[in-house]
Structure formats: C-alpha cells, structure tokens
Symmetry: C2
Subunit: 220 residues, 2 copies
DNA sequence: CGGGATCCTTGACGATACTG
DNA sequence: CAGTATCGTCAAGGATCCCG
C-alpha cells in the first residue's frame, strides 16, 4: 500500500487506522475483547489470517500488546477510543439508513445480541433460546443462546439442553430492532418476529433482549 | 472492496472514511480548500483521476456538494472535523517519529509552508523566495514562493520577478523545522538550512515562515 | 484455541495521455 | 483549470487447508 509521503500526523494516523477491517478490530478491543476468537466473533467475515496480520501490525505500531493469549490495548490504543466513538456518532447521525440485507450478517448480529443481553433480567436457571433466521445461508441460519446468569453463551450447534424458547425472524428485521429502528413490540405484533415457548418466557424476552448501546447517540 | 456486512455505525463510517487518501482529502476540505487544484496540491501524490473518484464518492454519500467549480462540505461533512482533529491529536501524540525521507515529499511540504505563511509579518511589496532542495527528484527540487501580502503564491517555474531570497535545505530538515522537531534557529546555526539574500530579508524570514498549526497538540 | 502457509483472484491504484 | 480515458500491475485480501 505504501504511505502517503506526508509528515502530517493525520496521514500517520490514517496509515495505521484505515486499512480494511482495522477500525472494527479496534472497536472490538475497545469494547473489551482480548482473546483472538472473541475478537473474531465481532468481525466474523474477516479471515483469521487477515486478523492475525492486523493484530501483528497493531502490535508493531504500539497500539496493542500481546501477552500470552491476550491482546491488550496500550495507552496509545486506549486513546483511540475517542476516534472510534466519534466514528460511531457520525455514522449514526449521517449514514444510518434502513438496514440493508448486505449489512445484516447473522453471525455479527448474534454476537452483538449476545454482548447486549441484560443478564440481570434473564430468567433464573438455564434458558436455551433458539434463533432461526429466514433468508439466510444454511450455515448461519440457526443459533443457540444459552442464558445462565450471569453467563451468556452463543453456539452454532445445539448445545444439547433442549430448547426453551424459539425466536424466528429475518435478520434484517432483528437487526433493525436491535438498532432501534423498529420497536420490538411492533415487530412482535406484526409477527415479523415470532416467539414460541412458555408464555412466561415469551413475556420475559423483551426484558433481557438488550438493544444496541449506540442508540440515542443521534440526538447530540 | 465491498462492505463489512455489519449494521454497526462504526462500520458505516469506516466504509466512507477509510478508503485510501480519503482522510487527507477531508483534511483539505476541512482546512478550507474548495477548488479541485487546491485540494490536489494538498495531496500531490494522489492522481487526479483518483481524486475525482473520491470526490464523487464523497458527494454520493452526502459529505460534500459540488457547485460549479467548488466542492463544499455539507453539514454532515462539517461534522467530520472532530474525527480528523482526533486523528491529528493521536498521530501527533503516538506515531510521530523522526520524519523519514519517505514522509517529506517536497510538493506537500511546500504547499504546507505556503498555507502557513504569516502574511502579516511578510515584507511589504513583493518578495520572491526561491526554495532549493537537496536529495530531491529534479522535478520537485526548485520552488518559488511569491509573497505579496496579503497573497501568497507558489510556483514550480520561475515567475520571472527575479529572486530576492534563496532558501536551501534538505526537505527532511525543513519538514522537521515546520513540524517543530528542530528549532529554526538551530538549523540556521548548523547551516542545514541556509538563506541567501539581503540581510533584512534573511532576518525577516523567521517572522513570516509559519510552523504547523498542529504543533503543541501533543501535551493534552 | 490460536494461529500459519498457500494459492489465487480482483479491483484498487498508479501512470500516462488527452480534452473542452 | 478541471477533469476523462485507458491500461497495466500488483498486492491486498478472500478461500482453503493445515498444524501444535
């Protein structure tokens, strides 16, 4: 790629920050992921070899440190947080459009949902929730979210506990709800999201299903 | 390039902002350039076809508007300023290293110098300053800066007014002075920058030769 | 789990020339 | 001045497989 030939610090930052996927990797680190696989679950469409390469690069420029099996932000990395935050604000205010099918990768959606579960509001004991997506490649169609407060686990294969609650939806719809573009109650009423299971679990779903923390940033 | 498959607003911003050269084009717009050639003088190593492409893209996503021969930031574009500013801060604090030869393109350096001239402190009347760089490709070795307060003009060919003052330096040295890494007085003392001309113009040089406005950002 | 190695494609980019 | 057109390259990154 080569550099920009400029001594300007904006160019220097751009050389670090604007390679493909890098801002999203930083987002994951800023959000607290430290393990390789956790980071990758936040960028499921990124190949592992490329993620490795980016992590090495970020280490080389001093944004992260690699200790054992963990990647931790250095002070320099921590100070990228304002930039990522500003990017979130700007995207939310100016780019956010109706979510397109291309932007609703089910793997990322499920990982985001998993990260936002309100464990305090989850049913006591263990609850296995099966998500089934329409209009989605077979490999990403069916997910299990295992709530066992305070833990939350996400699997692509049946964990074998049986299913307590089934959620069916188009990933575009569920993502729209997650991002606050469609009220959950409305989607349930229109049955674009359907819940199957005991009524106390159906009623409890909206309580623990957390929305994106970026909602509400728009009005600044 | 294709997108990231994510509905996250950070990803949306990244799709706009992290293509090659884009942050620097935004910088030029934020700094006030509106004409194609002015913008390009701030990114001299970018081909005009690519600049056109980027401007079209920025127009398409609503960051700029194209009116006649001018490109102006929309409100959305104006709000990119905090991001660019943060990038400058971060680069200045964490990446800034000794300026390398690869980062000292003479065309960008001269354009930056031109933009920072303190016209109030320039000599009255017209002063033609000839910059001559060592260790630089022939085509970028020799520049003329015409001070005629309040205007400042930069040429690659002799404007034909005769030369009042000649500045000789390595572009790496001059860039280091511009960025505040080397005091100008020191460079003059060591004769890594030399000035030839009437003594009142030699003495006046440090007055109108402005340094980067990004200096001082580091201590925050 | 945390990668490394390889292959292969494609489209982004650079270079150059030309136009109204 | 403000681009357009064409062409060639080359390397980024996607895909796949493998390994300790």
């Amino acid at each position: 790629m080569a550099g920009y030939g400029q001594f300007c610090p904006i160019a220097a930052t751009a050389e670090v920050l604007t390679e493909r996927w890098t801002p999203l990797v930083i987002r994951e680190l800023v959000d607290g992921s430290r393990r390789f696989n956790d980071i990758q679950r936040g960028v499921p469409l990124m190949s592992s070899s490329l993620l490795t390469k980016r992590l090495r690069m970020l280490e080389a420029v001093g944004v992260i440190e690699h200790q054992g099996n963990e990647y931790v932000l250095t002070p320099a990395g921590e100070e990228l947080r304002p930039i990522v935050d500003q990017m979130a604000v700007w995207g939310e205010r100016w780019i956010r459009r109706t979510i397109r099918r291309d932007d609703a990768d089910a793997a990322y959606l499920m990982w985001a949902i998993r990260s936002s579960v309100v464990t305090d509001a989850a049913p006591p004991g263990r609850t296995t929730v099966n998500f089934r997506f329409t209009a989605t490649p077979r490999a990403k169609r069916c997910w299990w979210l295992v709530l066992e407060p305070p833990a939350t686990d996400l699997c692509l294969t049946d964990p074998g506990y049986g299913t307590d609650l089934t959620v069916r939806s188009d990933p575009v719809i569920l993502a729209s709800v997650y991002m606050g573009d469609i009220p959950l109650a409305e989607a349930l009423r229109h049955r674009t999201i359907t819940l199957d299971g005991p009524s106390h679990l159906v009623r409890g779903f909206p309580k623990w299903f957390g929305l994106s923390s970026l909602i509400g940033i728009r009005q600044s």
